[in-house]
Amino acid sequence: MKNSKMQYYKSPSVKILLIDDEESIRENIQELLEIKDYEVQSAKHATDALNKLISFNPDLIVTDLMLPDFSGIELIEQIRRIDGFSEIPVIVITGNHKPEILRSSMTSGADDYLSKPFKANELYESITSQLYKKAVRKENVELIAELSKQSPLPIIRINQFGKLIYSNPAAKLIKSENLVELLYKKIKRFNEVHFNFEFPFDKQLFKVEVTHNSIQGYYNVYFLDITTEWNKNLELSQKNQLIQLKNENLMQFANIVSHDLKAPIINLRQLTNLIISEAEDVKYKNSISESLIPFLDQSLEKLECVMAKLVEILKGRHDGVANKLKIRDLRLHVEKQTKKHLNGFLNANCYLTFSIGKNINLDFPLTSFNVIIKNICEILLKFKNKNEDLKIHFSYSETENRIMLDIEHNCCLLNKTDSNETFNLIYKSKSGNNIENIIGFQTIKNIMNSHNGDFLFHKKTEKNCLCTLIFIKNDSQKSFQTPEFYFN
């Protein structure tokens, strides 16, 4: 090792720039250096040194710390910023022995220092050592350059001052002037020997592996292009987000179906049950509550809102499900289905008045007819005969001790084939009560109530389209003309 050091020491080609403002010291050191065959140029202040730097192109600098124009430390910092001199060995000589001055000169880029007065050998040894280090550094750079030349991965080396000192051919693909600056800013934050970080740059993402040579002060930076991998991860994470969104969507859908949708349906079901039970309940015959109609309406409205919400959620899936789904107009559908009932409900508190002659009017609460009206509507829907109206003809008559109610209709004429069945359909009762209870009893009772009469159901006779209900009465009254009404 000593021999190889000597090689640099004796090299006649070694050029040294010497800077000192004191002429005697400058001449003295220059003499010492020239004895050893170094080619020396001297400068008496920092500006002079900077002027000679490029033209002389020294291999090493020996400088005093206390210079007249600006300090040796500032000079070193300036030299390091000049291309080609960022790595040049600098030996400072100083009469100031304060440790902080020495520390600051070292951190600003000095490679060694000598305290005045120093011996000639100390100077020679320091020079030899610095030249040796420089040579090793150069060898290393060349070696790494040789090795990394073959590497498909970009490799660069940055010195401790943030200067690019080497880049392999692959690294030249990373085109950017500020890449090194950006990298160096990032690298400076780390204090470890080995570290890595992700480095996004110009639509690319690199994993940067850094090794720090703390002795020689440079950083080897290896780039691994992870853009494709990153894109794949990004794609996966986007897919993942989409799945999560769909899951949330599904949960929301399930929640709406299990609760929001249930609520109006339960209300509709309960309202319908209530209306039916009231329609069939004697107690409510005069008072099927009109107040239920707004609730039906509200429940339908809520149902429509919920359905709209569900459609919106399905649209959010972006998979076309919503387009395939044809939600029919719910209200129209429900209203169509309930039309046959709805008229009865709406007129629930109305009365049909029949003039039956002799200045007597009979008021029939429509509730009495709800069941029959419903059944008639059902039959009408089945007949599909638009040319003829369904006609129900009531004729009321009395004998001395009997009251007769004839109910005649033209269903058998509209559809002769199943007249009997039709007739039964008209008078069927959902509650299973017989016809006498539902129509005859209630209707006659209403009539009789209007006349302060009293009666008992006796029997029913049926013949084709005519049904006669016979009641026994206590007092014989008058006979009546026949009322009649139509359904379209």
Partner: protein, 141 residues
């Protein structure tokens, strides 16, 4: 059924954010001749305020029908509030029944964790449910 119970009116408190439900359930309960007073609340907070004003004696023959899924304060929160105020059971052994559109086992099981809850009914309420509630609460039918 005790004579004491007979002498007291049977009262219901309905708590549900759905006013249609309140209307319908009130209607069903009114049909039962054994029930004398029905108070309904669409805001659970207001219901709690009302309950807190009841004297111990007024809790006798008191039944609360409580919905679970309500936007501002859930049925569970109502139960927690009652638990804080009265402990494990209500004064005079008043009963709480859950009346919910939910039939999820987790809801049913959770309701069982509350001693003050006497039963869980899935909407809609009907006359049979009411009879069952009266029967299980006070042996009335």
């Amino acid at each position: 059924m005790t004579l004491k119970n007979l002498s007291k009116p049977l009262n219901f408190i309905l708590i549900d954010d759905d006013v249609i439900q309140l209307f319908l359930n009130k209607k069903i309960l009114k049909d039962n001749s054994k029930i004398s007073e029905i108070v309904s609340f669409s805001m659970p907070e207001a219901a709690l305020e009302h309950i807190y004003t009841l004297k111990d004696v007024e809790f006798e023959n008191q039944i609360i029908l409580l919905d679970l899924n309500m936007p501002v304060m859930s049925g569970w929160e109502v139960l927690e509030n009652l638990k804080i105020k009265y402990g494990e059971s209500l004064p005079a052994n008043a009963k709480i029944y859950i009346l919910s559109s939910s039939d999820l086992p987790e809801d049913i099981n959770k309701s069982k964790e509350y001693t003050m809850v006497s039963g869980f009914y899935t909407k809609p309420l009907d006359k049979l449910n009411v009879d069952k509630i009266l029967e299980t609460s006070f042996n009335w039918i």
